[in-house]
């Protein structure tokens, strides 16, 4: 019996055509999935009523993949195969990752996106994220009683194209149709904006586990416009844990600790941080594998002191975003707090002081992003109510441009342009008779290409010979609603064109994704294998029977030695035939075919001779 939800007037779905859409907050520390039920956005909890899914994946040697709390429980036992905060690795190379030296993982030394060696082989951050997404998808399908139409997945506003592409790849791998990627602060604004119906300029201060985002939004007449974004993609609650962790190491005068102990102390550090939200001091006790005891007390004063620079670090991008929007703190009507780390009293205080007002907290800061994403997903899936025709405008987080002579960046689409957007600019040749032009697409705010992130390279060929500076090459940048880029270069006199969908350097190629999808269909490949084996077995059986009947009829055509060889090959084929080694069967068939080739030729000659015996040549010619 299907359970029905209340629809908007005139929007009742036809049977079996419910458009089940969810919003997914794929977070650094925790992930959530939410949906709109009878007009209200709700977070979907697991069987035990827990709304959060820790973004932790454990790869056990025996082939089991645990996600969430089960994986978290393995953290201190098996840190090397327990991946936490994988979002920090999305679309990132080794050099991009902070504190890589204190991580307990076995990184593979390869170019491009980092990969981790686990008990189940090398895993890319995309595959690990896909395991988290699969878990959420299963939860959502159980809760909604059907297959998902699609999902809106949130990403930090600061994510560059490589990181966005990696997130999309992960969703694809998890079998989720991505309706849209949505910036997390925009999702939070949707959750707040619709629920409260408030108009004006709002700041969204999002301090999650691993990322900090500040966004300046304008809400008016149901239209959301992102005026500016800023932040730091490597700053979050984890860094506060790390500060406490370092403080513990220093206070307890510990020499370098094992991965196991590091994990234990990091957990204790996080617990102490959370305890300080409600209390003035927190005990930190641990027994290390070396037999050493840690017994310390962290007070709010000490915590404030050691984390002061981190708190300050969030205010820099906040000032910059306001400046980008041409506003001052006094213009901001409200500050939306997002992310569990904003529960820290020193954060509340610093943000309150900067904006001169109490920040808004009436929605759960852990859930607000998922709730907003669910609302957006519900609309994109087509379940929209009359009057819900509001438009969502998003912006480019970082400028997009190309490299020009001398390694300089020429910006084509400036940051904070609203998307979708297309911009074009003309370039020319540098040398007489130059027939080709290399285009290097970069993203970033810096003037030197070497300081920006390289997204893609391609070439435009077939430029007719001209003096330097005479050719006109029009380069068009186009960004779709997901924030993904395509670049076209066109030589204006001949119409020669070259084009690239930005495959960010760290993203996966279609082939790689296809290969992974194929891996996922392990049953299908098992079936294909079985089919091929079966075919080989049938073929072998046919060959054995043919040889046996020939031996019965014409055994005299073979010498004893030849007969022994044929028998040996026959025996070998019979021996391997019922096994599951297809190659062995093929090889044995080959050998038997070769061994009997001469025998077959003699039999052919014999039957020809028999047919011709006693006949005159003239009879044959007629």
């Amino acid at each position: 019996m299907a359970l029905l939800q209340l629809s908007e007037p005139g929007q009742s779905a036809a049977p079996h055509e419910h458009r089940l859409a969810v919003g997914i907050d794929l977070g650094t520390t925790n992930s959530l999935v939410a949906t709109v039920r009878s007009g209200i956005s709700v977070v979907l909890s697991d069987e035990l009523g827990r709304p959060l899914l820790p973004s932790v994946v454990h790869y056990a040697a025996e082939g089991v993949v645990d996600v969430g709390y089960e994986a978290q429980a393995r953290q201190s036992i098996d840190p090397r195969n327990t991946v936490v905060s994988v979002k920090r690795f999305m679309g990132r190379g080794r050099a991009d990752i902070a504190h890589i030296e204190s991580m307990p993982y076995d990184f593979e030394d390869s170019p491009g996106m980092v990969k981790l060696r686990t008990a189940q082989g090398v895993k890319s951050p995309v595959e690990i994220s896909a395991d988290i997404l699969k878990n959420l998808r299963t939860r959502a399908e159980a809760a909604l009683g059907g297959q998902l139409t699609g999902a809106v997945i949130t990403v930090p506003a600061y994510f560059d194209d490589a990181q966005r592409q990696a997130t999309k790849d992960a969703a694809r791998l998890a079998g989720i149709n991505v309706l849209r990627l949505l910036n997390e602060p925009t999702a939070a604004a949707i959750a707040y904006g619709l629920d409260n119906g408030a108009e004006g300029i709002y700041a969204v201060y999002d301090l999650g586990g691993g990322t900090f985002d500040i966004s300046i939004l304008k809400l008016s007449k149901g239209v959301f416009q992102v005026l500016a974004t800023g932040g730091d993609s490597a700053l979050g609650g984890d860094d506060f844990d790390h500060r406490v962790f370092c403080w513990v190491i220093e206070q307890a005068k510990l020499s370098p600790v094992s991965p196991h102990d590091a994990r234990l102390l990091q957990t204790r550090a996080r617990e102490a941080k959370e305890h300080l939200t409600q209390h003035g001091e927190a005990p930190i006790t641990a027994k290390l594998s070396t037999g050493e005891f840690v017994d310390l007390t962290l007070t709010s004063e000490i915590f404030n002191e050691i984390s002061k620079t981190l708190v300050q670090k969030t205010l820099g991008p906040t000032r910059k975003a306001l400046r980008d929007a041409g506003l001052s703190p006094a213009d901001v009507k409200g500050v939306v707090m997002v992310g569990g780390a904003t529960r820290m009293p020193q954060i509340q205080k610093a943000v309150g002081e900067y904006f001169g007002q109490e920040p808004l907290n009436n929605l759960d800061p852990d859930k607000v992003v998922a709730l907003g994403a669910a609302i957006q997903a519900n609309l994109l899936a087509g379940n929209r109510a009359a009057g819900d025709d509001w438009l969502l405008l998003d912006v480019i987080p970082l400028s997009l441009g190309i490299e020009t002579m001398g390694g300089l960046t020429e910006k084509i689409i400036p940051r904070n342009s609203t998307i979708p957007v297309a911009r074009a600019q003309e370039f020319t040749t540098f040398k007489d008779g130059q027939a080709a032009m290399a285009l290097h697409v970069v993203q970033g705010e810096r003037e030197l290409v070497s300081d920006c992130r390289s997204l893609a390279r391609f070439e435009l060929r077939g430029i007719p010979p001209m003096v330097a500076g005479a050719a006109r090459i029009r380069v068009t940048f186009q960004v779709d609603a997901d924030g993904l880029l395509s670049v076209t270069a066109r030589e204006q006199t001949t119409g020669h064109e070259a084009r690239i969908e930005v495959k960010p350097s760290y993203g996966l190629t279609d082939d790689e994704v296809a290969a992974m999808l194929k891996d996922g269909f392990s049953h299908a490949s098992d079936d294909a294998f079985r089919r091929a084996l079966r075919e080989a077995q049938v073929e072998a059986q046919r060959l054995i029977e043919a040889v046996q009947s020939a031996l019965k009829e014409d055994a005299q055509l073979l010498s004893t030695l030849e007969r022994a060889h044929v028998d040996a090959c026959l025996g070998k084929l019979q021996a391997v035939m019922m096994g599951d080694n297809r190659r062995a069967i093929d090889d044995a068939m080959d050998n038997l075919n070769k061994a009997t080739a001469e025998f077959a030729a003699r039999r052919m000659n014999q039957s020809v001779q028999r047919a011709l015996a006693g006949k005159k040549v003239s009879e044959l010619e007629s």
Binding site: M1, L6, S7, E8, S12, A14, P15, R37, G39, D46
Partner: protein
């Protein structure tokens, strides 16, 4: 006969209407589609049509258009939880047969 809500269903409906911020009640009905002929309609109601039959149950208005009424008269709308899933359920005395999914039925 009448169309009624269980207490649990009424509580959820009131809650949904309150959160939605508008609505005079809910509208129940049927439309002809689905694998067994008829499908239920369950919607928020913003306006009452002149021909609507109105039932008051637990202080809520349930609107039914007269063409639908014969098919669902006597129905009690319940709110149920099944595993992780939850939602409304039609307990309709008129149905002879329904498809496995319960979303459509014949009378």
């Amino acid at each position: 006969m009448a169309v009624t809500l269980t207490e649990s269903a009424a509580k959820h409906v009131s809650n949904f209407i309150a959160k939605r911020g508008k609505g005079i009640g809910i509208r129940l009905g049927v439309k002809t589609s689905g694998c067994s002929g008829m499908a239920y309609k369950l919607e928020f109601a913003d306006v009452a049509e002149p021909e609507d039959v109105v039932f008051d149950t637990h202080g809520l208005k349930v609107l039914v258009d007269p063409r639908s009424l014969p098919y669902i008269d006597g129905t009690e709308l319940d709110y149920a939880k099944e595993g992780l899933n939850e939602g409304f359920k039609f307990n309709n005395p008129n149905i002879k047969d329904q498809c496995g999914c319960g979303e459509s039925f014949t009378v």
